[in-house]
């Protein structure tokens, strides 16, 4: 109901846009904001006596503003590919912080990231392992290193997937998995 939504909204906003929030952690600075956008019905917006708009907790949409360090505040659409991915991860982790699920699956969320951002992403995921399990699919060596356990999927028999356990040094530069005895 109204109160639960309001509590969640305030918690997620704090985790996302606060001084020690996820956005600043992933961008190494900058500022972010989550705003409620009252859905304006055909009539006029309602206002409090002091002029600020009445927030209809049950009807408003959610707007996100992201300001990477040193840049003017941007609407989401003007961020770069990597900046969007990092902002999305920050938002996801903030929701996770306010209501952790027992597991989280991330399928190549690091595809658009440069190495510096992959590093920050891995460090943030590490901070959530007290509450949840993460299943991370990746082609980035740095992300493979951050996994505590690594599985390879191969198609030695064409068209049929098999699971093999691997150590990080078995993953060749071309992503193919070498057999352990080939070390």
């Amino acid at each position: 109901s109204r109160d639960r939504f309001r509590q969640t909204f305030e918690k997620v906003t704090e985790h996302f846009a606060g001084q020690d929030g996820m956005f600043r952690k992933l961008f190494g600075g900058g500022k972010a904001e989550i705003r409620l956008m009252p859905v304006v019905r055909d009539g006029a917006e309602q206002f409090h006596s002091d002029g600020s708009p009445v927030t209809d907790w049950l009807e408003s949409g959610i707007e996100i503003i992201a300001k990477p360090p040193g840049k003017e505040p941007r609407s989401i659409s003007q961020l770069s590919g990597g900046e969007k991915a990092m902002t999305a991860v920050a938002l996801l982790m903030s929701i996770f912080r306010s209501k952790p699920a027992c597991f989280c699956v991330l399928d190549e969320v690091d595809a658009a990231l440069d190495d510096a951002n992959v590093d920050r992403f891995c460090r943030v995921v590490e901070q959530f392992t007290d509450q949840s399990h993460f299943i991370v699919i990746t082609h980035h060596k740095r992300t493979m290193h951050s996994a505590h356990q690594l599985y390879g999927v191969t198609m030695q028999e064409r068209g049929v997937s098999k699971r093999v356990s691997v150590k990080i040094d078995q993953v060749g530069p071309d992503g193919k998995i070498r057999e352990p005895q080939e070390q």
Partner: protein, 222 residues
């Protein structure tokens, strides 16, 4: 509650029975393009009740059954099972949970006294006698001891689909309905389309969604 194991058999490119255990906090899955990594994600969504074949990258649901390869014939069944550890909750967690439930009830009662229409309907007032043996009441009692409302240290959910189109769900090897699976994970953040599964290429889907669509994600987390 902890995710323990995933078992695939005849699901997409996993023709042979394949088990993936999750003993560590971060499990990496690697391999060349097209080897079957995202099929693992599809398997998790599917067993949790995904009903749209399009969101599993197929045209119809039987596309999830192994369709054959250069050396193998197509199979007639796809099966995926997901196993969770479901230990008894520690006394501290139990106490915290009970306090939380009590607070939520007080909050709802306060709303219903104020007379706001949406709150009243949600709480059965103290005066109404509730039959202690209805499924939901057993559920509540069991819920009080373990994370998932099944009185067993491990909970396995399984989904099967046959090439003739018939399908079934199972909870700890007993037949169940999709609704039972959904009820099982109510309020845990786990689900086929929950915020906790980010598919390939969809990392910024939440950012690109409309403000109202984003709101539903926040509501899910409430």
């Amino acid at each position: 509650m902890r995710l323990a194991k995933l078992t695939l058999f005849g699901f997409k490119s996993f023709a042979d029975k394949t088990e993936i255990t999750f003993d560590e906090a971060i499990t990496g899955i690697v391999g060349p393009n097209g080897c079957g990594k995202s099929n693992v994600v599809d398997a998790i969504k599917w067993v949790l009740g995904e009903r749209s074949s399009k969101s599993l990258r197929g045209q119809e649901m039987i596309d999830v059954i192994f369709a054959g390869s250069a050396g193998r014939a197509p199979m007639n069944m796809a099966s995926v099972a997901l196993t969770f550890d479901n230990p008894e909750l520690s006394p501290e967690v139990l106490a915290a949970r009970e306090a939380q439930m009590r607070q939520a009830q007080l909050l709802q009662q306060a709303e219903s006294i104020e007379g706001s229409p949406d709150a009243g309907a949600q709480v059965a007032g103290p005066a109404e006698a509730v039959d202690p043996n209805t499924p939901s009441m057993i559920d509540a009692r069991v819920r009080a001891r373990r994370a998932l409302p099944v009185d067993s240290p491990q909970v396995e959910i399984e989904r099967r689909l046959y090439r003739d189109g018939s399908s079934e769900y199972l909870i700890n090897s007993r037949k169940a309905r999709l609704k039972d699976i959904r009820d099982l994970f109510l309020d845990t953040g786990v689900g086929a389309d929950a915020y906790s599964i980010i598919e390939q290429g969809k990392v910024d889907a939440m950012l690109l969604a409309s403000p109202m669509e984003r709101r539903t994600v926040f509501e899910e987390a409430a």
